[in-house]
């Protein structure tokens, strides 16, 4: 009787398994995807629509998406990697890509994605580590200096152009005039109240324009002499002077200074364009960031897509990423969100960014001035150390001491991690 029960149970299990296998053969293979969930509903809607179009366009793969809140996204990905539970396709902020690649979470994309898709992207739309591409993006953002035509005219200031950005002297002259007028308590808004990646994204390009950098990109091991050399010192002194002269609010209570007319200049990213344009209309002027000696520099690299090494269907994941990189899909994202498309073909499909478009300058800034953040797994510690250092300088610390301390912290961490794959 007992044997009969066991046999019946076995039959039931086998039948269930057989049904499962046969139905699995008929159905498309599931490819899991994670993306960060932002408060920008349009961005999410476009992503969902792209996934829907991909699922409809073929019968071999089916993308199943999970939206994970942006604020806790990196922790979630790290925890999932630890538990061996990463999805096939995931998006990530470009600066963390080298760290994820070094940790063994990601597959290199050369050979997986089509050559046309990879080659068609602008440089800042690719996340690399040790010369290999590990992530690709549909969009980028660009730093710029926003002001108003009426302010430029009133204070007799030259409108900076792509060909001839403001120099350091011109910027300081403009700030001195604006401050002296008494109309602006703090003429320049720089979002110093923001925390996290903004400090590296926003202020490291200034450092680079001075001729310094966060780390020596020839070896990704040494920071000595690169961050705390003469150029770094000059940047630190300049940065501190902005606060000492009260050109910039050391501790702003909000980030609405420019929109509310309390600041004449706004140093921020292209994501504010829609708000600024809505507020100031035709009076709004967008200028490139100043040239501090080494040419204008802006940060490059936004949220990008990669494929997990643990993925059991890398072909399916690659097919989807290829699909996303089609000019039409990139353009759809740009049209909905206003962000800079990551390929020239896609730019031509948008009103704002096509040649002659009203926001084309952002695309040109990105193509000409973007400097990717250091492509090293040490970047998280570099970024957090840079933020602490810049905050200390802002608050009045000795510039040389702050730079030296940052160099020590960065180099010690790299040494503790045996160079993160670099020697």
């Amino acid at each position: 009787m007992k044997i009969m029960k066991v046999s019946l149970l076995s039959c039931a299990i086998m039948t269930t398994l057989t049904l499962d296998v046969s139905s699995a053969m008929a159905a498309p293979s599931e490819v899991k995807l994670w993306r960060h969930e932002t408060s920008n509903i349009k961005e999410i809607e476009v992503s969902k629509a792209t996934i829907e179009r991909f699922n409809q366009s073929q019968a071999k793969w089916h993308i199943t998406a999970e939206m994970i809140p942006e604020g806790s996204y990196t922790q979630t990905v790290t925890a999932a990697a630890l538990a061996g539970d990463l999805p096939c396709v995931l998006d990530m902020d470009q600066p963390v890509v080298p760290n994820f690649a070094w940790s063994g979470y990601l597959l290199p994309l050369e050979g997986l994605l089509s050559k046309d898709a990879l080659n068609g992207l602008i440089g800042s739309a690719k996340g690399t580590y040790k010369g290999k591409v590990y992530s690709v993006g549909q969009f980028d953002v660009a730093l710029a200096l926003f002001t108003r035509q009426s302010i430029l005219e009133k204070y007799n200031l030259r409108q900076a152009t792509f060909e001839q950005p403001w120099t350091k002297a011109e910027l300081l002259d403009a700030l001195a005039k604006l401050k002296a007028s008494g109309e602006y308590q703090y003429p320049l808004a720089m979002r110093t109240g923001w925390t996290g990646e903004w400090y590296s994204y926003g202020y490291a390009p200034m450092l680079q324009s001075f001729g310094a950098d966060q780390i020596d990109r020839d070896n990704y091991v040494k920071s000595e002499g690169v961050l705390n050399g003469e150029a770094g010192l000059a940047w630190g002194a300049f940065f501190q002077s902005l606060f000492n002269n009260e050109y910039v609010d050391r501790n702003p209570s909000d980030d609405k200074g420019f929109v509310q007319g309390r600041a004449a200049l706004d140093y921020v990213g292209s994501w504010e364009m829609a708000n600024h344009s809505k507020r100031w209309g035709d009076d709004l002027v967008v200028m490139p960031v100043p040239d501090f000696g080494g040419g204008p520099v802006i940060g490059g690299g936004s949220w990008q897509w990669g494929i997990a090494k643990s993925c059991s269907n890398p072909e399916g994941a690659a097919a989807f990423v290829d699909f996303m990189l089609q000019p039409e899909e990139i353009a759809a994202m740009s049209v909905a969100t206003g962000m800079i498309p990551s390929s020239p073909e896609a730019a031509e499909l948008t009103d704002h960014y096509q040649v002659g478009g009203d926001w084309r300058y952002f695309y040109d800034f990105t193509a000409a001035f973007a400097e990717l953040r250091p492509a090293t797994p040490a970047y998280p510690i570099i970024s957090s150390t840079f933020e602490k250092m810049a905050r200390n300088i802002k608050d009045g610390a000795n510039v040389q001491d702050a730079l030296d301390e940052a160099v020590d912290t960065i180099e010690r961490n790299i040494s503790d991690n045996k160079g993160y794959g670099f020697n």
């Binding site: 969930e37 932002t38 509903i41 939206m67 809140p69 979630t76 509310q260």
Partner: protein, 289 residues
């Protein structure tokens, strides 16, 4: 002089009350104000008053941008299941430790006390590895299947948090001080240990049950680090990690305040409902010290 002293005491209490109430009032009032008004009112008393252009837009945006009702439902399920199971499991262990004699009891008690000093952050990584290897039984396409792991589920947020050494110790302290005569009388009448627990100890321990229920509720409702690590999908996401949707490239403080107000209300309601028992239990525990 006496009146002056009394007035001073009241003013001091008023100041303390303001310090504690300010964040709560600011959060609730800001949730009804547009972004610009929040910042305009920031440095005046208007920040905690319902004045100016009040609007429900922030709440509309919260409901539009996030599935807050789903997160809310998940949190209620997770919290209530954990609290109910926790009250039973923790009090039962405390009962055996305080009212029964068995070999190894002292060692278990010592282990419970020792475990109280280990924070969740210290065990979160090994716990994650453990639950990622534990399969669950699910139902798919007409048959039972072994699912990959506990991750991404409601149970992964419930089961690891049912037993809690601190709550066991609270129950233990309370049960220990109930005279043993009750047990002995019940035993003479033929009661089993579970009957003693069920019909004598539990009815006499209302305050400690209320205290543990509140503390466990707060602990579970405010869970943040564990759900971030163990849950990726929206289907099982509780309320606290959900707030991260509103922190991004552009942060809207009005929406954050609306979300925070919405998820804080149940905590306030539970505390107010159990406040009397909570205070009496804490006072009682202090006297028994």
């Amino acid at each position: 002089m006496k009146h002056l002293r009394k007035l001073g005491a009241y003013l001091f209490l008023l100041l303390i009350g303001y310090v504690f109430l300010f964040p709560l009032l600011f959060m609730i009032m800001s949730s009804f104000k547009p972004e610009q008004v929040i910042f305009a009112d920031l440095y005046s008393i208007r920040a905690i008053l319902p004045v100016g252009d009040l609007t429900l837009d922030n709440y509309r945006q919260v409901f539009e941008k996030s599935d807050v009702l789903l997160y809310f439902r998940n949190s209620i399920l997770i919290t209530s299941a954990t609290v109910i199971l926790g009250l039973f499991v923790n009090s039962l262990l405390a009962f055996t430790l305080s009212r029964m004699r068995w070999s190894g009891r002292k060692y278990i008690l010592a282990a419970v006390v020792a475990l109280m000093i280990i924070p969740i952050e210290a065990i979160v990584v090994p716990l994650l590895l453990l639950v990622s290897k534990l399969p669950t039984i699910g139902w798919e396409q007409g048959g039972f299947v072994l699912m990959g792991s506990w991750l991404n589920s409601l149970e992964v947020q419930i089961l690891p948090f049912v037993a809690n050494s601190f709550f066991i110790f609270l129950f233990y302290q309370f049960f220990r001080d109930i005279p043993k005569d009750f047990d002995e009388a019940a035993e003479l009448d033929g009661a089993t240990p579970f009957q003693i627990y069920r019909h004598i100890i539990v009815p006499m321990s209302g305050p400690v049950f209320a205290t543990v229920a509140i503390l466990h509720f707060l602990l579970m409702w405010n869970q943040y680090i564990w759900p971030i690590m163990a849950v990726q999908g929206e289907d099982a996401r509780p309320v606290m990690p959900g707030i991260q949707i509103f922190f991004g490239r552009q942060t809207s403080w009005g929406e954050i305040m609306a979300y925070a107000s919405f998820v804080t209300l149940p905590v306030l309601a539970v505390f107010l409902a159990f406040q009397k028992k909570f205070v009496s239990s804490l006072a009682g525990a202090g006297i028994k010290g």
